[in-house]
Symmetry: C2
């Protein structure tokens, strides 16, 4: 590795030309650390100081499946994969303490893309004060995959599980629903030379941006835990599907409020029509807002109450909407 | 997902047919847990009880680069990727407390392969008492990738870093050197209808088995830490390359003992010749034996002393062999 390469001067370099050591020193060295990182990247493992039990989760993104280069920049991908992982920690009532990042890519991959990825990872990691403590690099014959593991802790002292909901609680969402799905739909249609009317163009651009780089308020997880949340999950596969997971784990029924859902869908209706808008709110994934149950009156400021929990009854656990069991969509990586 | 599929009765099923939930309930449910796992797979994150700081490392294997299906079974791949990660923990003086496993594979992948992978993961995880606490599944257009993150603790109370060696220490290896590389060489040659003479066939088979499924004694890491090891690393990229990492981090020179290296190479010489045998010992990766420095007389029983450390001098840090700086090989994922 030449000094010029190490300094990032050769912007046309590929990962194969940089080599493993070059990639590590050139690209990953820019990431910040914290005092809790007793040993950071560069030894056999990282060593992280802890206070109490450790949260651990992992989430990967695969090019062509979880993102398309035509739609998402390297920065977008890095930011999104970190958000996905930190949202899982938030959904337990936790915050991040460390990230491990694995990049699998062909040697022909421009180093500039990996720099962008790192910048995206760093932007979200820095925003939430979470250091990158380690990682791995592997070459492939063409596939590109970014896998992140996030470690965390529970500042509120308790973990909020999917199984903790009780009948008669309010069901609330910490932020938006459907924006990521609406953005994806816009991207799909725009391939066919379609773009929303001028009146909706600004909103559509925001949905697209949210799809490519979601930025949920991850601090709401700790607040929800402190407010006494019964059960919590982040909306990664859609309201109905993720709500169904709370319903299953807590063995109860979750009744969605038809009027509130309609209100949330109204944002998308001018562009996507009534059915499309409802699909976004009910089935749209990758939103990463938090969905939680609370004792009546304990819903934190800024959350939107979208329903109530009830005894499962003879029909068994599930999500109900308009008097029927909702089965709506959501994303299965293996289409099952 | 049908009940028959969940029970694993349909052995011809693909991952796409099983679906994400089916894969999780069918394949990953067989893995064991421990008391320290406060929350295991199935919620947003795992929650792990800890005692002291947490070790964290991650290592991935990619089909076609890190293994070939012609040579390695799914069980081999699962076992090897866990060994690689646990060896990194051992190289710090640590032991495993939890594993996160990510599988990226096409929907057309036979479920039977994923079951084999899980069996391999489970065999090593169980042998060392480490639970699988979480993971992720993603589909691909064909690429197959297994990524593992290992968390650990330090039973000896201290982390052994690469930077802790001092001049005048003994350099020792906890187990074999070169067997994985010798096995790989046999596999490569056997594609050309070659196989060792009958007198060496049994040894050659053992090297091949070690290459496909290395089984280093991972308990030696804690013992080395307790014996006062100065610096430690696991031999994943070859003795010269990994020894060079200790030399660099500790800013000293590592002199290999020519006679001991020759003795270690003698095992491979009848099959691979003098040069090939030396290459295995000096540059052979994926062995995952531990390489450590110790104060004179503190080398643990069963370890092989392969050299000594010395002041770096004007030539700077490095590994020396036969009076010259060794530059020997080792594996760079990006060939740099």
């Amino acid at each position: 590795m030449s000094a010029a390469t190490a300094g990032g001067a050769e912007d046309s370099a590929t990962l194969g030309e940089l080599g493993e050591a070059g990639i590590l020193s050139d690209i990953f060295a820019s990431l910040r650390t914290t005092e809790a990182v007793l040993v950071g990247p560069g030894d056999d493992t990282a060593l992280l100081a802890t206070s109490g039990p450790v949260l651990a989760t992992t989430d990967a993104m695969v090019r062509g499946r979880d993102w398309l280069d035509e739609w998402s920049s390297a920065e977008d991908v890095g930011a999104k994969v970190v958000v996905q992982n930190l949202a899982d920690l938030a959904a337990m009532g936790g915050t991040g303490t460390g990230l491990l990042v694995t990049l699998v890519a062909p040697g022909s991959m421009p180093a500039q893309w990996a720099r962008g990825l790192t910048a995206g990872i760093g932007s979200v990691a820095d925003a939430w004060g979470v250091p990158v403590i380690g990682g791995d690099l592997s070459s492939s014959d063409g596939a590109v995959m970014v896998s992140v593991t996030a470690l965390g802790e529970l500042p509120g002292g308790r973990a909020v599980l999917r199984s903790g909901a009780a009948p008669g609680q309010e069901v609330a969402v910490s932020g938006s629903l459907g924006r990521s799905a609406a953005g994806l739909e816009i991207l799909r249609r725009s391939d066919a030379d379609w773009w929303p009317e001028p009146a909706s163009a600004e909103a559509a651009s925001r949905w697209v941006a949210y799809h490519c780089r979601p930025d949920p308020d991850l601090s709401q997880g700790v607040l929800a835990a402190q407010a006494g949340a019964g059960a919590m999950i982040d909306v990664s596969d859609g309201l109905v599907r993720d709500g169904g997971r709370i319903a299953s784990a807590s063995k109860l029924r979750l009744d969605l409020d038809e009027e509130v859902i309609a209100d949330l869908a109204a944002e998308f209706e001018p562009v996507l029509g009534g059915r499309g808008a409802l699909d976004c709110v009910l089935s749209g994934g990758e939103e990463h807002s938090l969905l939680a149950t609370f004792p009546t009156g304990a819903v934190p400021d800024g959350w939107t109450v979208v329903g109530r929990t009830a005894e499962a009854g003879v029909a068994g656990p599930g999500v109900w909407w308009r008097g029927e069991r909702a089965t709506g969509g959501g994303w299965d990586h293996f289409g099952g």
